[in-house]
Symmetry: C2
Subunit: 185 residues, 2 copies
DNA sequence: GTTGTCCGAGACTTTGGGTCTCGGATTCGG
DNA sequence: CCGAATCCGAGACCCAAAGTCTCGGACAAC
């Protein structure tokens, strides 16, 4: 049933798909959908989570490289069909506090925690400033990508993510550290 | 007529107000509204622009202070009733490309140009890195504020804007400059 | 005074999310 | 093995609000 939702959303986009279509495709009554989800947007969110959750795993040891890879993955996701889903969900979240909370708790927080883990590791190894505020740093790193996703004033690319990181890095890194980040392309 | 729209939107919020209400309050037929604007969202955008455009003027000479003041103003605006308008417009822009373009061209670009001017001035005076990419820098400075506005994972405050600037500043400033930014609170 | 244009008023259409109802199938109790 | 209660697909229905169409009165032009 979620499968049908996922397929349709991928095929038509989240805006174009209707609840009736999902119900029909799943061979299920509309009422049954509303038995499990409170709104269409919730269904889409579950589809998004199922579509994007398989991720973590192997990160480089270098904090710089790890963060860079994570940012690139996010930029790639934003630029893909999933970015469209995210845009739609953020849009619907304005003016639906329950959905907004759900989005933050079930999608946003998970990914943010992964980013936070990398930064905390970097603090522990001394690659990042000891007094770094992780929350602030995450906003600074990923805020630009979200801005590009939601306002669309510039194309979203992995190169853009790299530029953001390089621009911000001097404010994050432990200036006493001798290890300059080696830039591998 | 725009006055009525502005008043109603301020009073009830952009989501709750209907075109019929605006028409009634302006003592005008609905058709007449659609003679000038293509959609309800467009009306709201004009109201927003009228509500927020009076701004520029006196900035401190110090680039750091100037940018800080501009960021604080944006944070203040985001936290006010106008922030609600902006959220709504960004939401409606997803899935309405014409509105999205209008939003970028008539609201976003203007404010961005002011920020760019400050940065360019800073480059010219040597306070900022000569090779700074202004577009990238603007995304990095304001992206976090937009993220907080649209996702709502953290409270939006002027203090948050200050923290963003301080975190990012080392990557923007001309490291050869002797003038450390003096932090006035 | 007649004709034409403009526009307030409000009825109407449309669209899609969400609810209600029916009837058949499946399951449980005796 | 049979009656009763539950579940659920199907689809009719409701509702709100954006956007369109139509009427009729007011004013202007000639």
């Amino acid at each position: 049933m979620l499968d049908s939702a996922r397929d349709l959303v991928c095929q038509l986009g989240p805006r174009a798909v209707t609840v009736d279509q999902i119900a029909a495709a799943a061979g299920v009554g509309k009422q049954t959908i509303y038995r499990w989800w409170p709104s269409k947007s919730s269904v889409i969110m579950d589809a998004l989570i199922e579509l994007t959750d398989p991720d973590p795993a192997d990160l480089p040891d270098s904090t710089y490289e790890a963060v860079r890879l994570q940012m690139r993955r996010v930029a790639g996701m934003f630029a893909s069909r999933n970015g469209e889903l995210i845009r739609e969900l953020v849009a619907d979240s304005q003016g639906d506090p329950a959905l907004a909370k759900d989005f933050r708790d079930r999608f946003f927080a998970h990914r943010r925690a992964r980013g936070a883990a990398s930064l905390e590791k970097g603090i522990a190894t001394g690659e990042l400033r000891a007094d770094l505020d992780v929350e602030d740093a995450l906003d600074v790193l990923y805020g630009p990508l979200w801005l590009q996703l939601l306002v669309g004033h510039r194309p979203l690319s992995q190169a853009a993510a790299d530029r953001v990181l390089d621009l911000v890095w001097p404010g994050l890194k432990n200036s006493k550290s001798r290890l300059a980040p080696k830039k591998t392309t």
